[in-house]
């Protein structure tokens, strides 16, 4: 089984979010980067489990600059066989998807796994775009994945419940919580990761179709109004007359 896992780097979940340069750039000052949790905990770990049980290889792919290499090495330490980095700034989702689709086009991957979303952009876009560019099915929000020869059985979140689906490879999926459990890399993995191949390749042309003009922080709450625990009638009154939500 030949699997490709799309990995991106994101600020640690406890990072303070600020912007610089007139609110056009994320303030990286003091920010720790991690592998996007959906990519690492769910997509990558499930891919590794499948290959460990059935044979094959797991390659990670990242559209990013050299500053992504430490997070790519983390994915290698967890167990991926090798990594590809497409050397470009991942600004526009079409651009990112196009790079990955172009790379994957002639490589015959059975499954391309992405995370459900990046926790910085929350776009949930890349997986579906890759699937369309490669003309394969896209199983979004998958919470379970089993593969038997070339037929995969998955569970995924749909409106109103969970759907069990069957898909013939090749296809693309986005991984959500439930697909696997987080793995902590061990010392041997970390040592091995240093010498695993990380192939850097150049991007193909693709006009960006979108760009971020600026960022803003949401309005701060004006402060909490405290209500005595005995006075729930007062709370209901405030929710009705002041907040107007009930």
């Amino acid at each position: 089984m030949k699997l490709l896992v799309c990995i991106s780097k994101v600020p640690d979940t406890t990072s303070k979010i600020n912007f610089v340069d007139n609110n056009t750039k994320f303030d990286e000052n003091g920010v720790q980067y991690i592998v996007n949790p959906y990519d690492e905990w769910y997509a990558l770990v499930r891919a590794l489990e499948l290959v460990e049980a059935q044979g094959g290889s797991v390659t990670t792919i990242t559209v990013g600059t050299a500053s992504d290499d430490p997070t790519i090495r983390k994915a290698l330490a967890i167990g991926a066989n090798d990594a590809v980095r497409i050397d470009a700034d991942p600004s526009d989702p079409h651009f990112v998807a196009k790079q990955i689709a172009e790379y994957a086009k002639n490589e015959n991957y059975d499954i391309i796994l992405t995370g459900k979303e990046t926790i910085n952009y929350n776009g949930s876009q890349i997986g579906g775009m890759i699937a369309e560019m490669l003309n394969t099915p896209f199983v979004s929000l998958a919470t379970k994945l089993d593969v038997n020869n070339n037929v995969a059985t998955l569970e995924r979140d749909v409106k109103g419940g969970v759907e069990v689906v069957e898909v013939v490879t090749p296809f693309v999926l986005s991984a959500a919580k439930g697909m696997a459990e987080q793995r902590i890399p061990n010392m041997r993995g970390i040592m091995a990761a240093r010498t695993k191949p990380l192939n850097v390749i150049s991007p193909v042309e693709q006009e960006p179709l979108s760009s971020v003009v600026k960022f803003e922080l949401p309005d701060a709450k004006s402060g909490c109004k405290y209500i005595e625990p005995e006075n729930m009638d007062e709370l209901v009154e405030l929710l009705h007359n002041e907040a107007k939500v009930i």
Binding site: P11, T13, G128, E132, V139, G161, E163, P218, V236
Partner: protein
């Protein structure tokens, strides 16, 4: 300007569908595209929010990403539309990016507002798990906009919608649906306007009755913090936060939840937040509009009674 709005309608027009149609009507003349065997009468209600034409594909009965992409793109070709508008729900997350890739159209994923068009075409979306807002410009001729549920107040915009059956070639279905495990008929979390949520402070799954009672009298949907879903006290689909469902209801009531940054990331878009916690230092109070320092086991039943009394007085 011609706009294609994709909606899913079962036995009732959902808030997400109203939002999408209303959003579309603010961009131009709306053709709704939908599928399934929903009655003509229900579909025509979409006219209340600005739909002028409704194309319904009766032969399609499942939400298949490839088939829906072909259906929507066929509607775009038929109407020569510049915009595609849909909801950023589970279906939208599957088809929105596909359509945008197929049309080579820029995509706003999770619009929270109508576009600003004084200088280009710029739409706000939530980023950094709700901790910031990005103003995203689209540069392509065609544009796809997926709306984050509960972002707008859809207004009535009465049109006499014309209904037409539509059966373009839907291509191949790569995904075979074997089974649907239903979560019941309640309002799904991302669309819920009122949410009652609880965390580890509730001590055990046997204590959720007081949470459900409050949700019942409010007509709210229940949610929970991540550890509560992880240890199996509550089903996974109720888990809200950075790694769970992101929600933006009008009212979010959180009992026995400390307010960790990863939890806040999924709920800080709520219009009004009520926090019930025994610990006055709980970080959640900083994000709250109304705070009750108290024991959830006493406060929740009391609040339920107060809501009952209030509802009775309204009738």
């Amino acid at each position: 300007m011609s706009v294609v709005v994709f909606v899913e309608v079962k036995n009732k027009v959902s808030k997400a569908a109203m939002e999408a149609v209303y959003y579309g009507s603010q961009l131009g003349s709306v053709t709704v595209v939908t599928y399934g065997d929903t009655s003509e009468e229900i579909l025509k209600e979409l006219g209340n929010y600005g739909a002028e034409n409704i194309l319904v594909c009766r032969s399609l009965n499942e939400s298949n990403d490839q088939a829906l992409t072909n259906l929507i793109v066929a509607a775009v070709e038929k109407t020569n539309a510049e915009f595609v508008v849909l909801a950023q729900d589970q279906t939208g997350k599957g088809v929105g990016p596909r359509i945008s890739a197929k049309l080579n159209a820029g995509h706003i994923s999770g619009a929270i507002d109508l576009p600003e068009t004084s200088n280009g075409f710029v739409v706000k979306t939530n980023v950094y798990s709700g901790k910031a807002i990005a103003h995203v410009a689209l540069h392509s001729a065609k544009k796809v906009i997926s709306i984050l549920p509960n972002s707008l107040a859809p207004q009535l915009n009465q049109k006499d919608a014309n209904l037409e059956e539509f059966s373009p070639d839907l291509g191949t279905f790569g995904i075979k649906v074997k089974e649907l495990k239903s979560q019941g008929d309640g309002v799904p979390l991302p669309e819920a306007e009122l949410v009652v949520s609880a965390g580890r402070g509730l001590k055990g799954p046997e204590n959720w009755g007081i949470v459900e009672d409050l949700a019942d009298v409010l007509g709210a949907t229940t949610a929970c913090s991540r550890p509560v879903a992880d240890i199996g006290w509550r089903p996974h689909h109720e888990h809200v936060g950075q790694t769970g469902v992101a929600i933006r209801p009008n009212l979010y009531i959180a009992a026995g939840i400390s307010g960790a940054i990863q939890h806040l990331a999924g709920v800080n878009g709520s219009k009004v937040i009520v926090v019930i916690n025994t610990d006055p230092e709980a970080p959640f109070f900083k994000a709250a509009d109304y705070g009750i320092v108290g024991d959830a086991f006493e406060v929740l039943p009391r609040l339920t009674e107060a809501v009952k009394k209030f509802s009775a007085s309204q009738n």
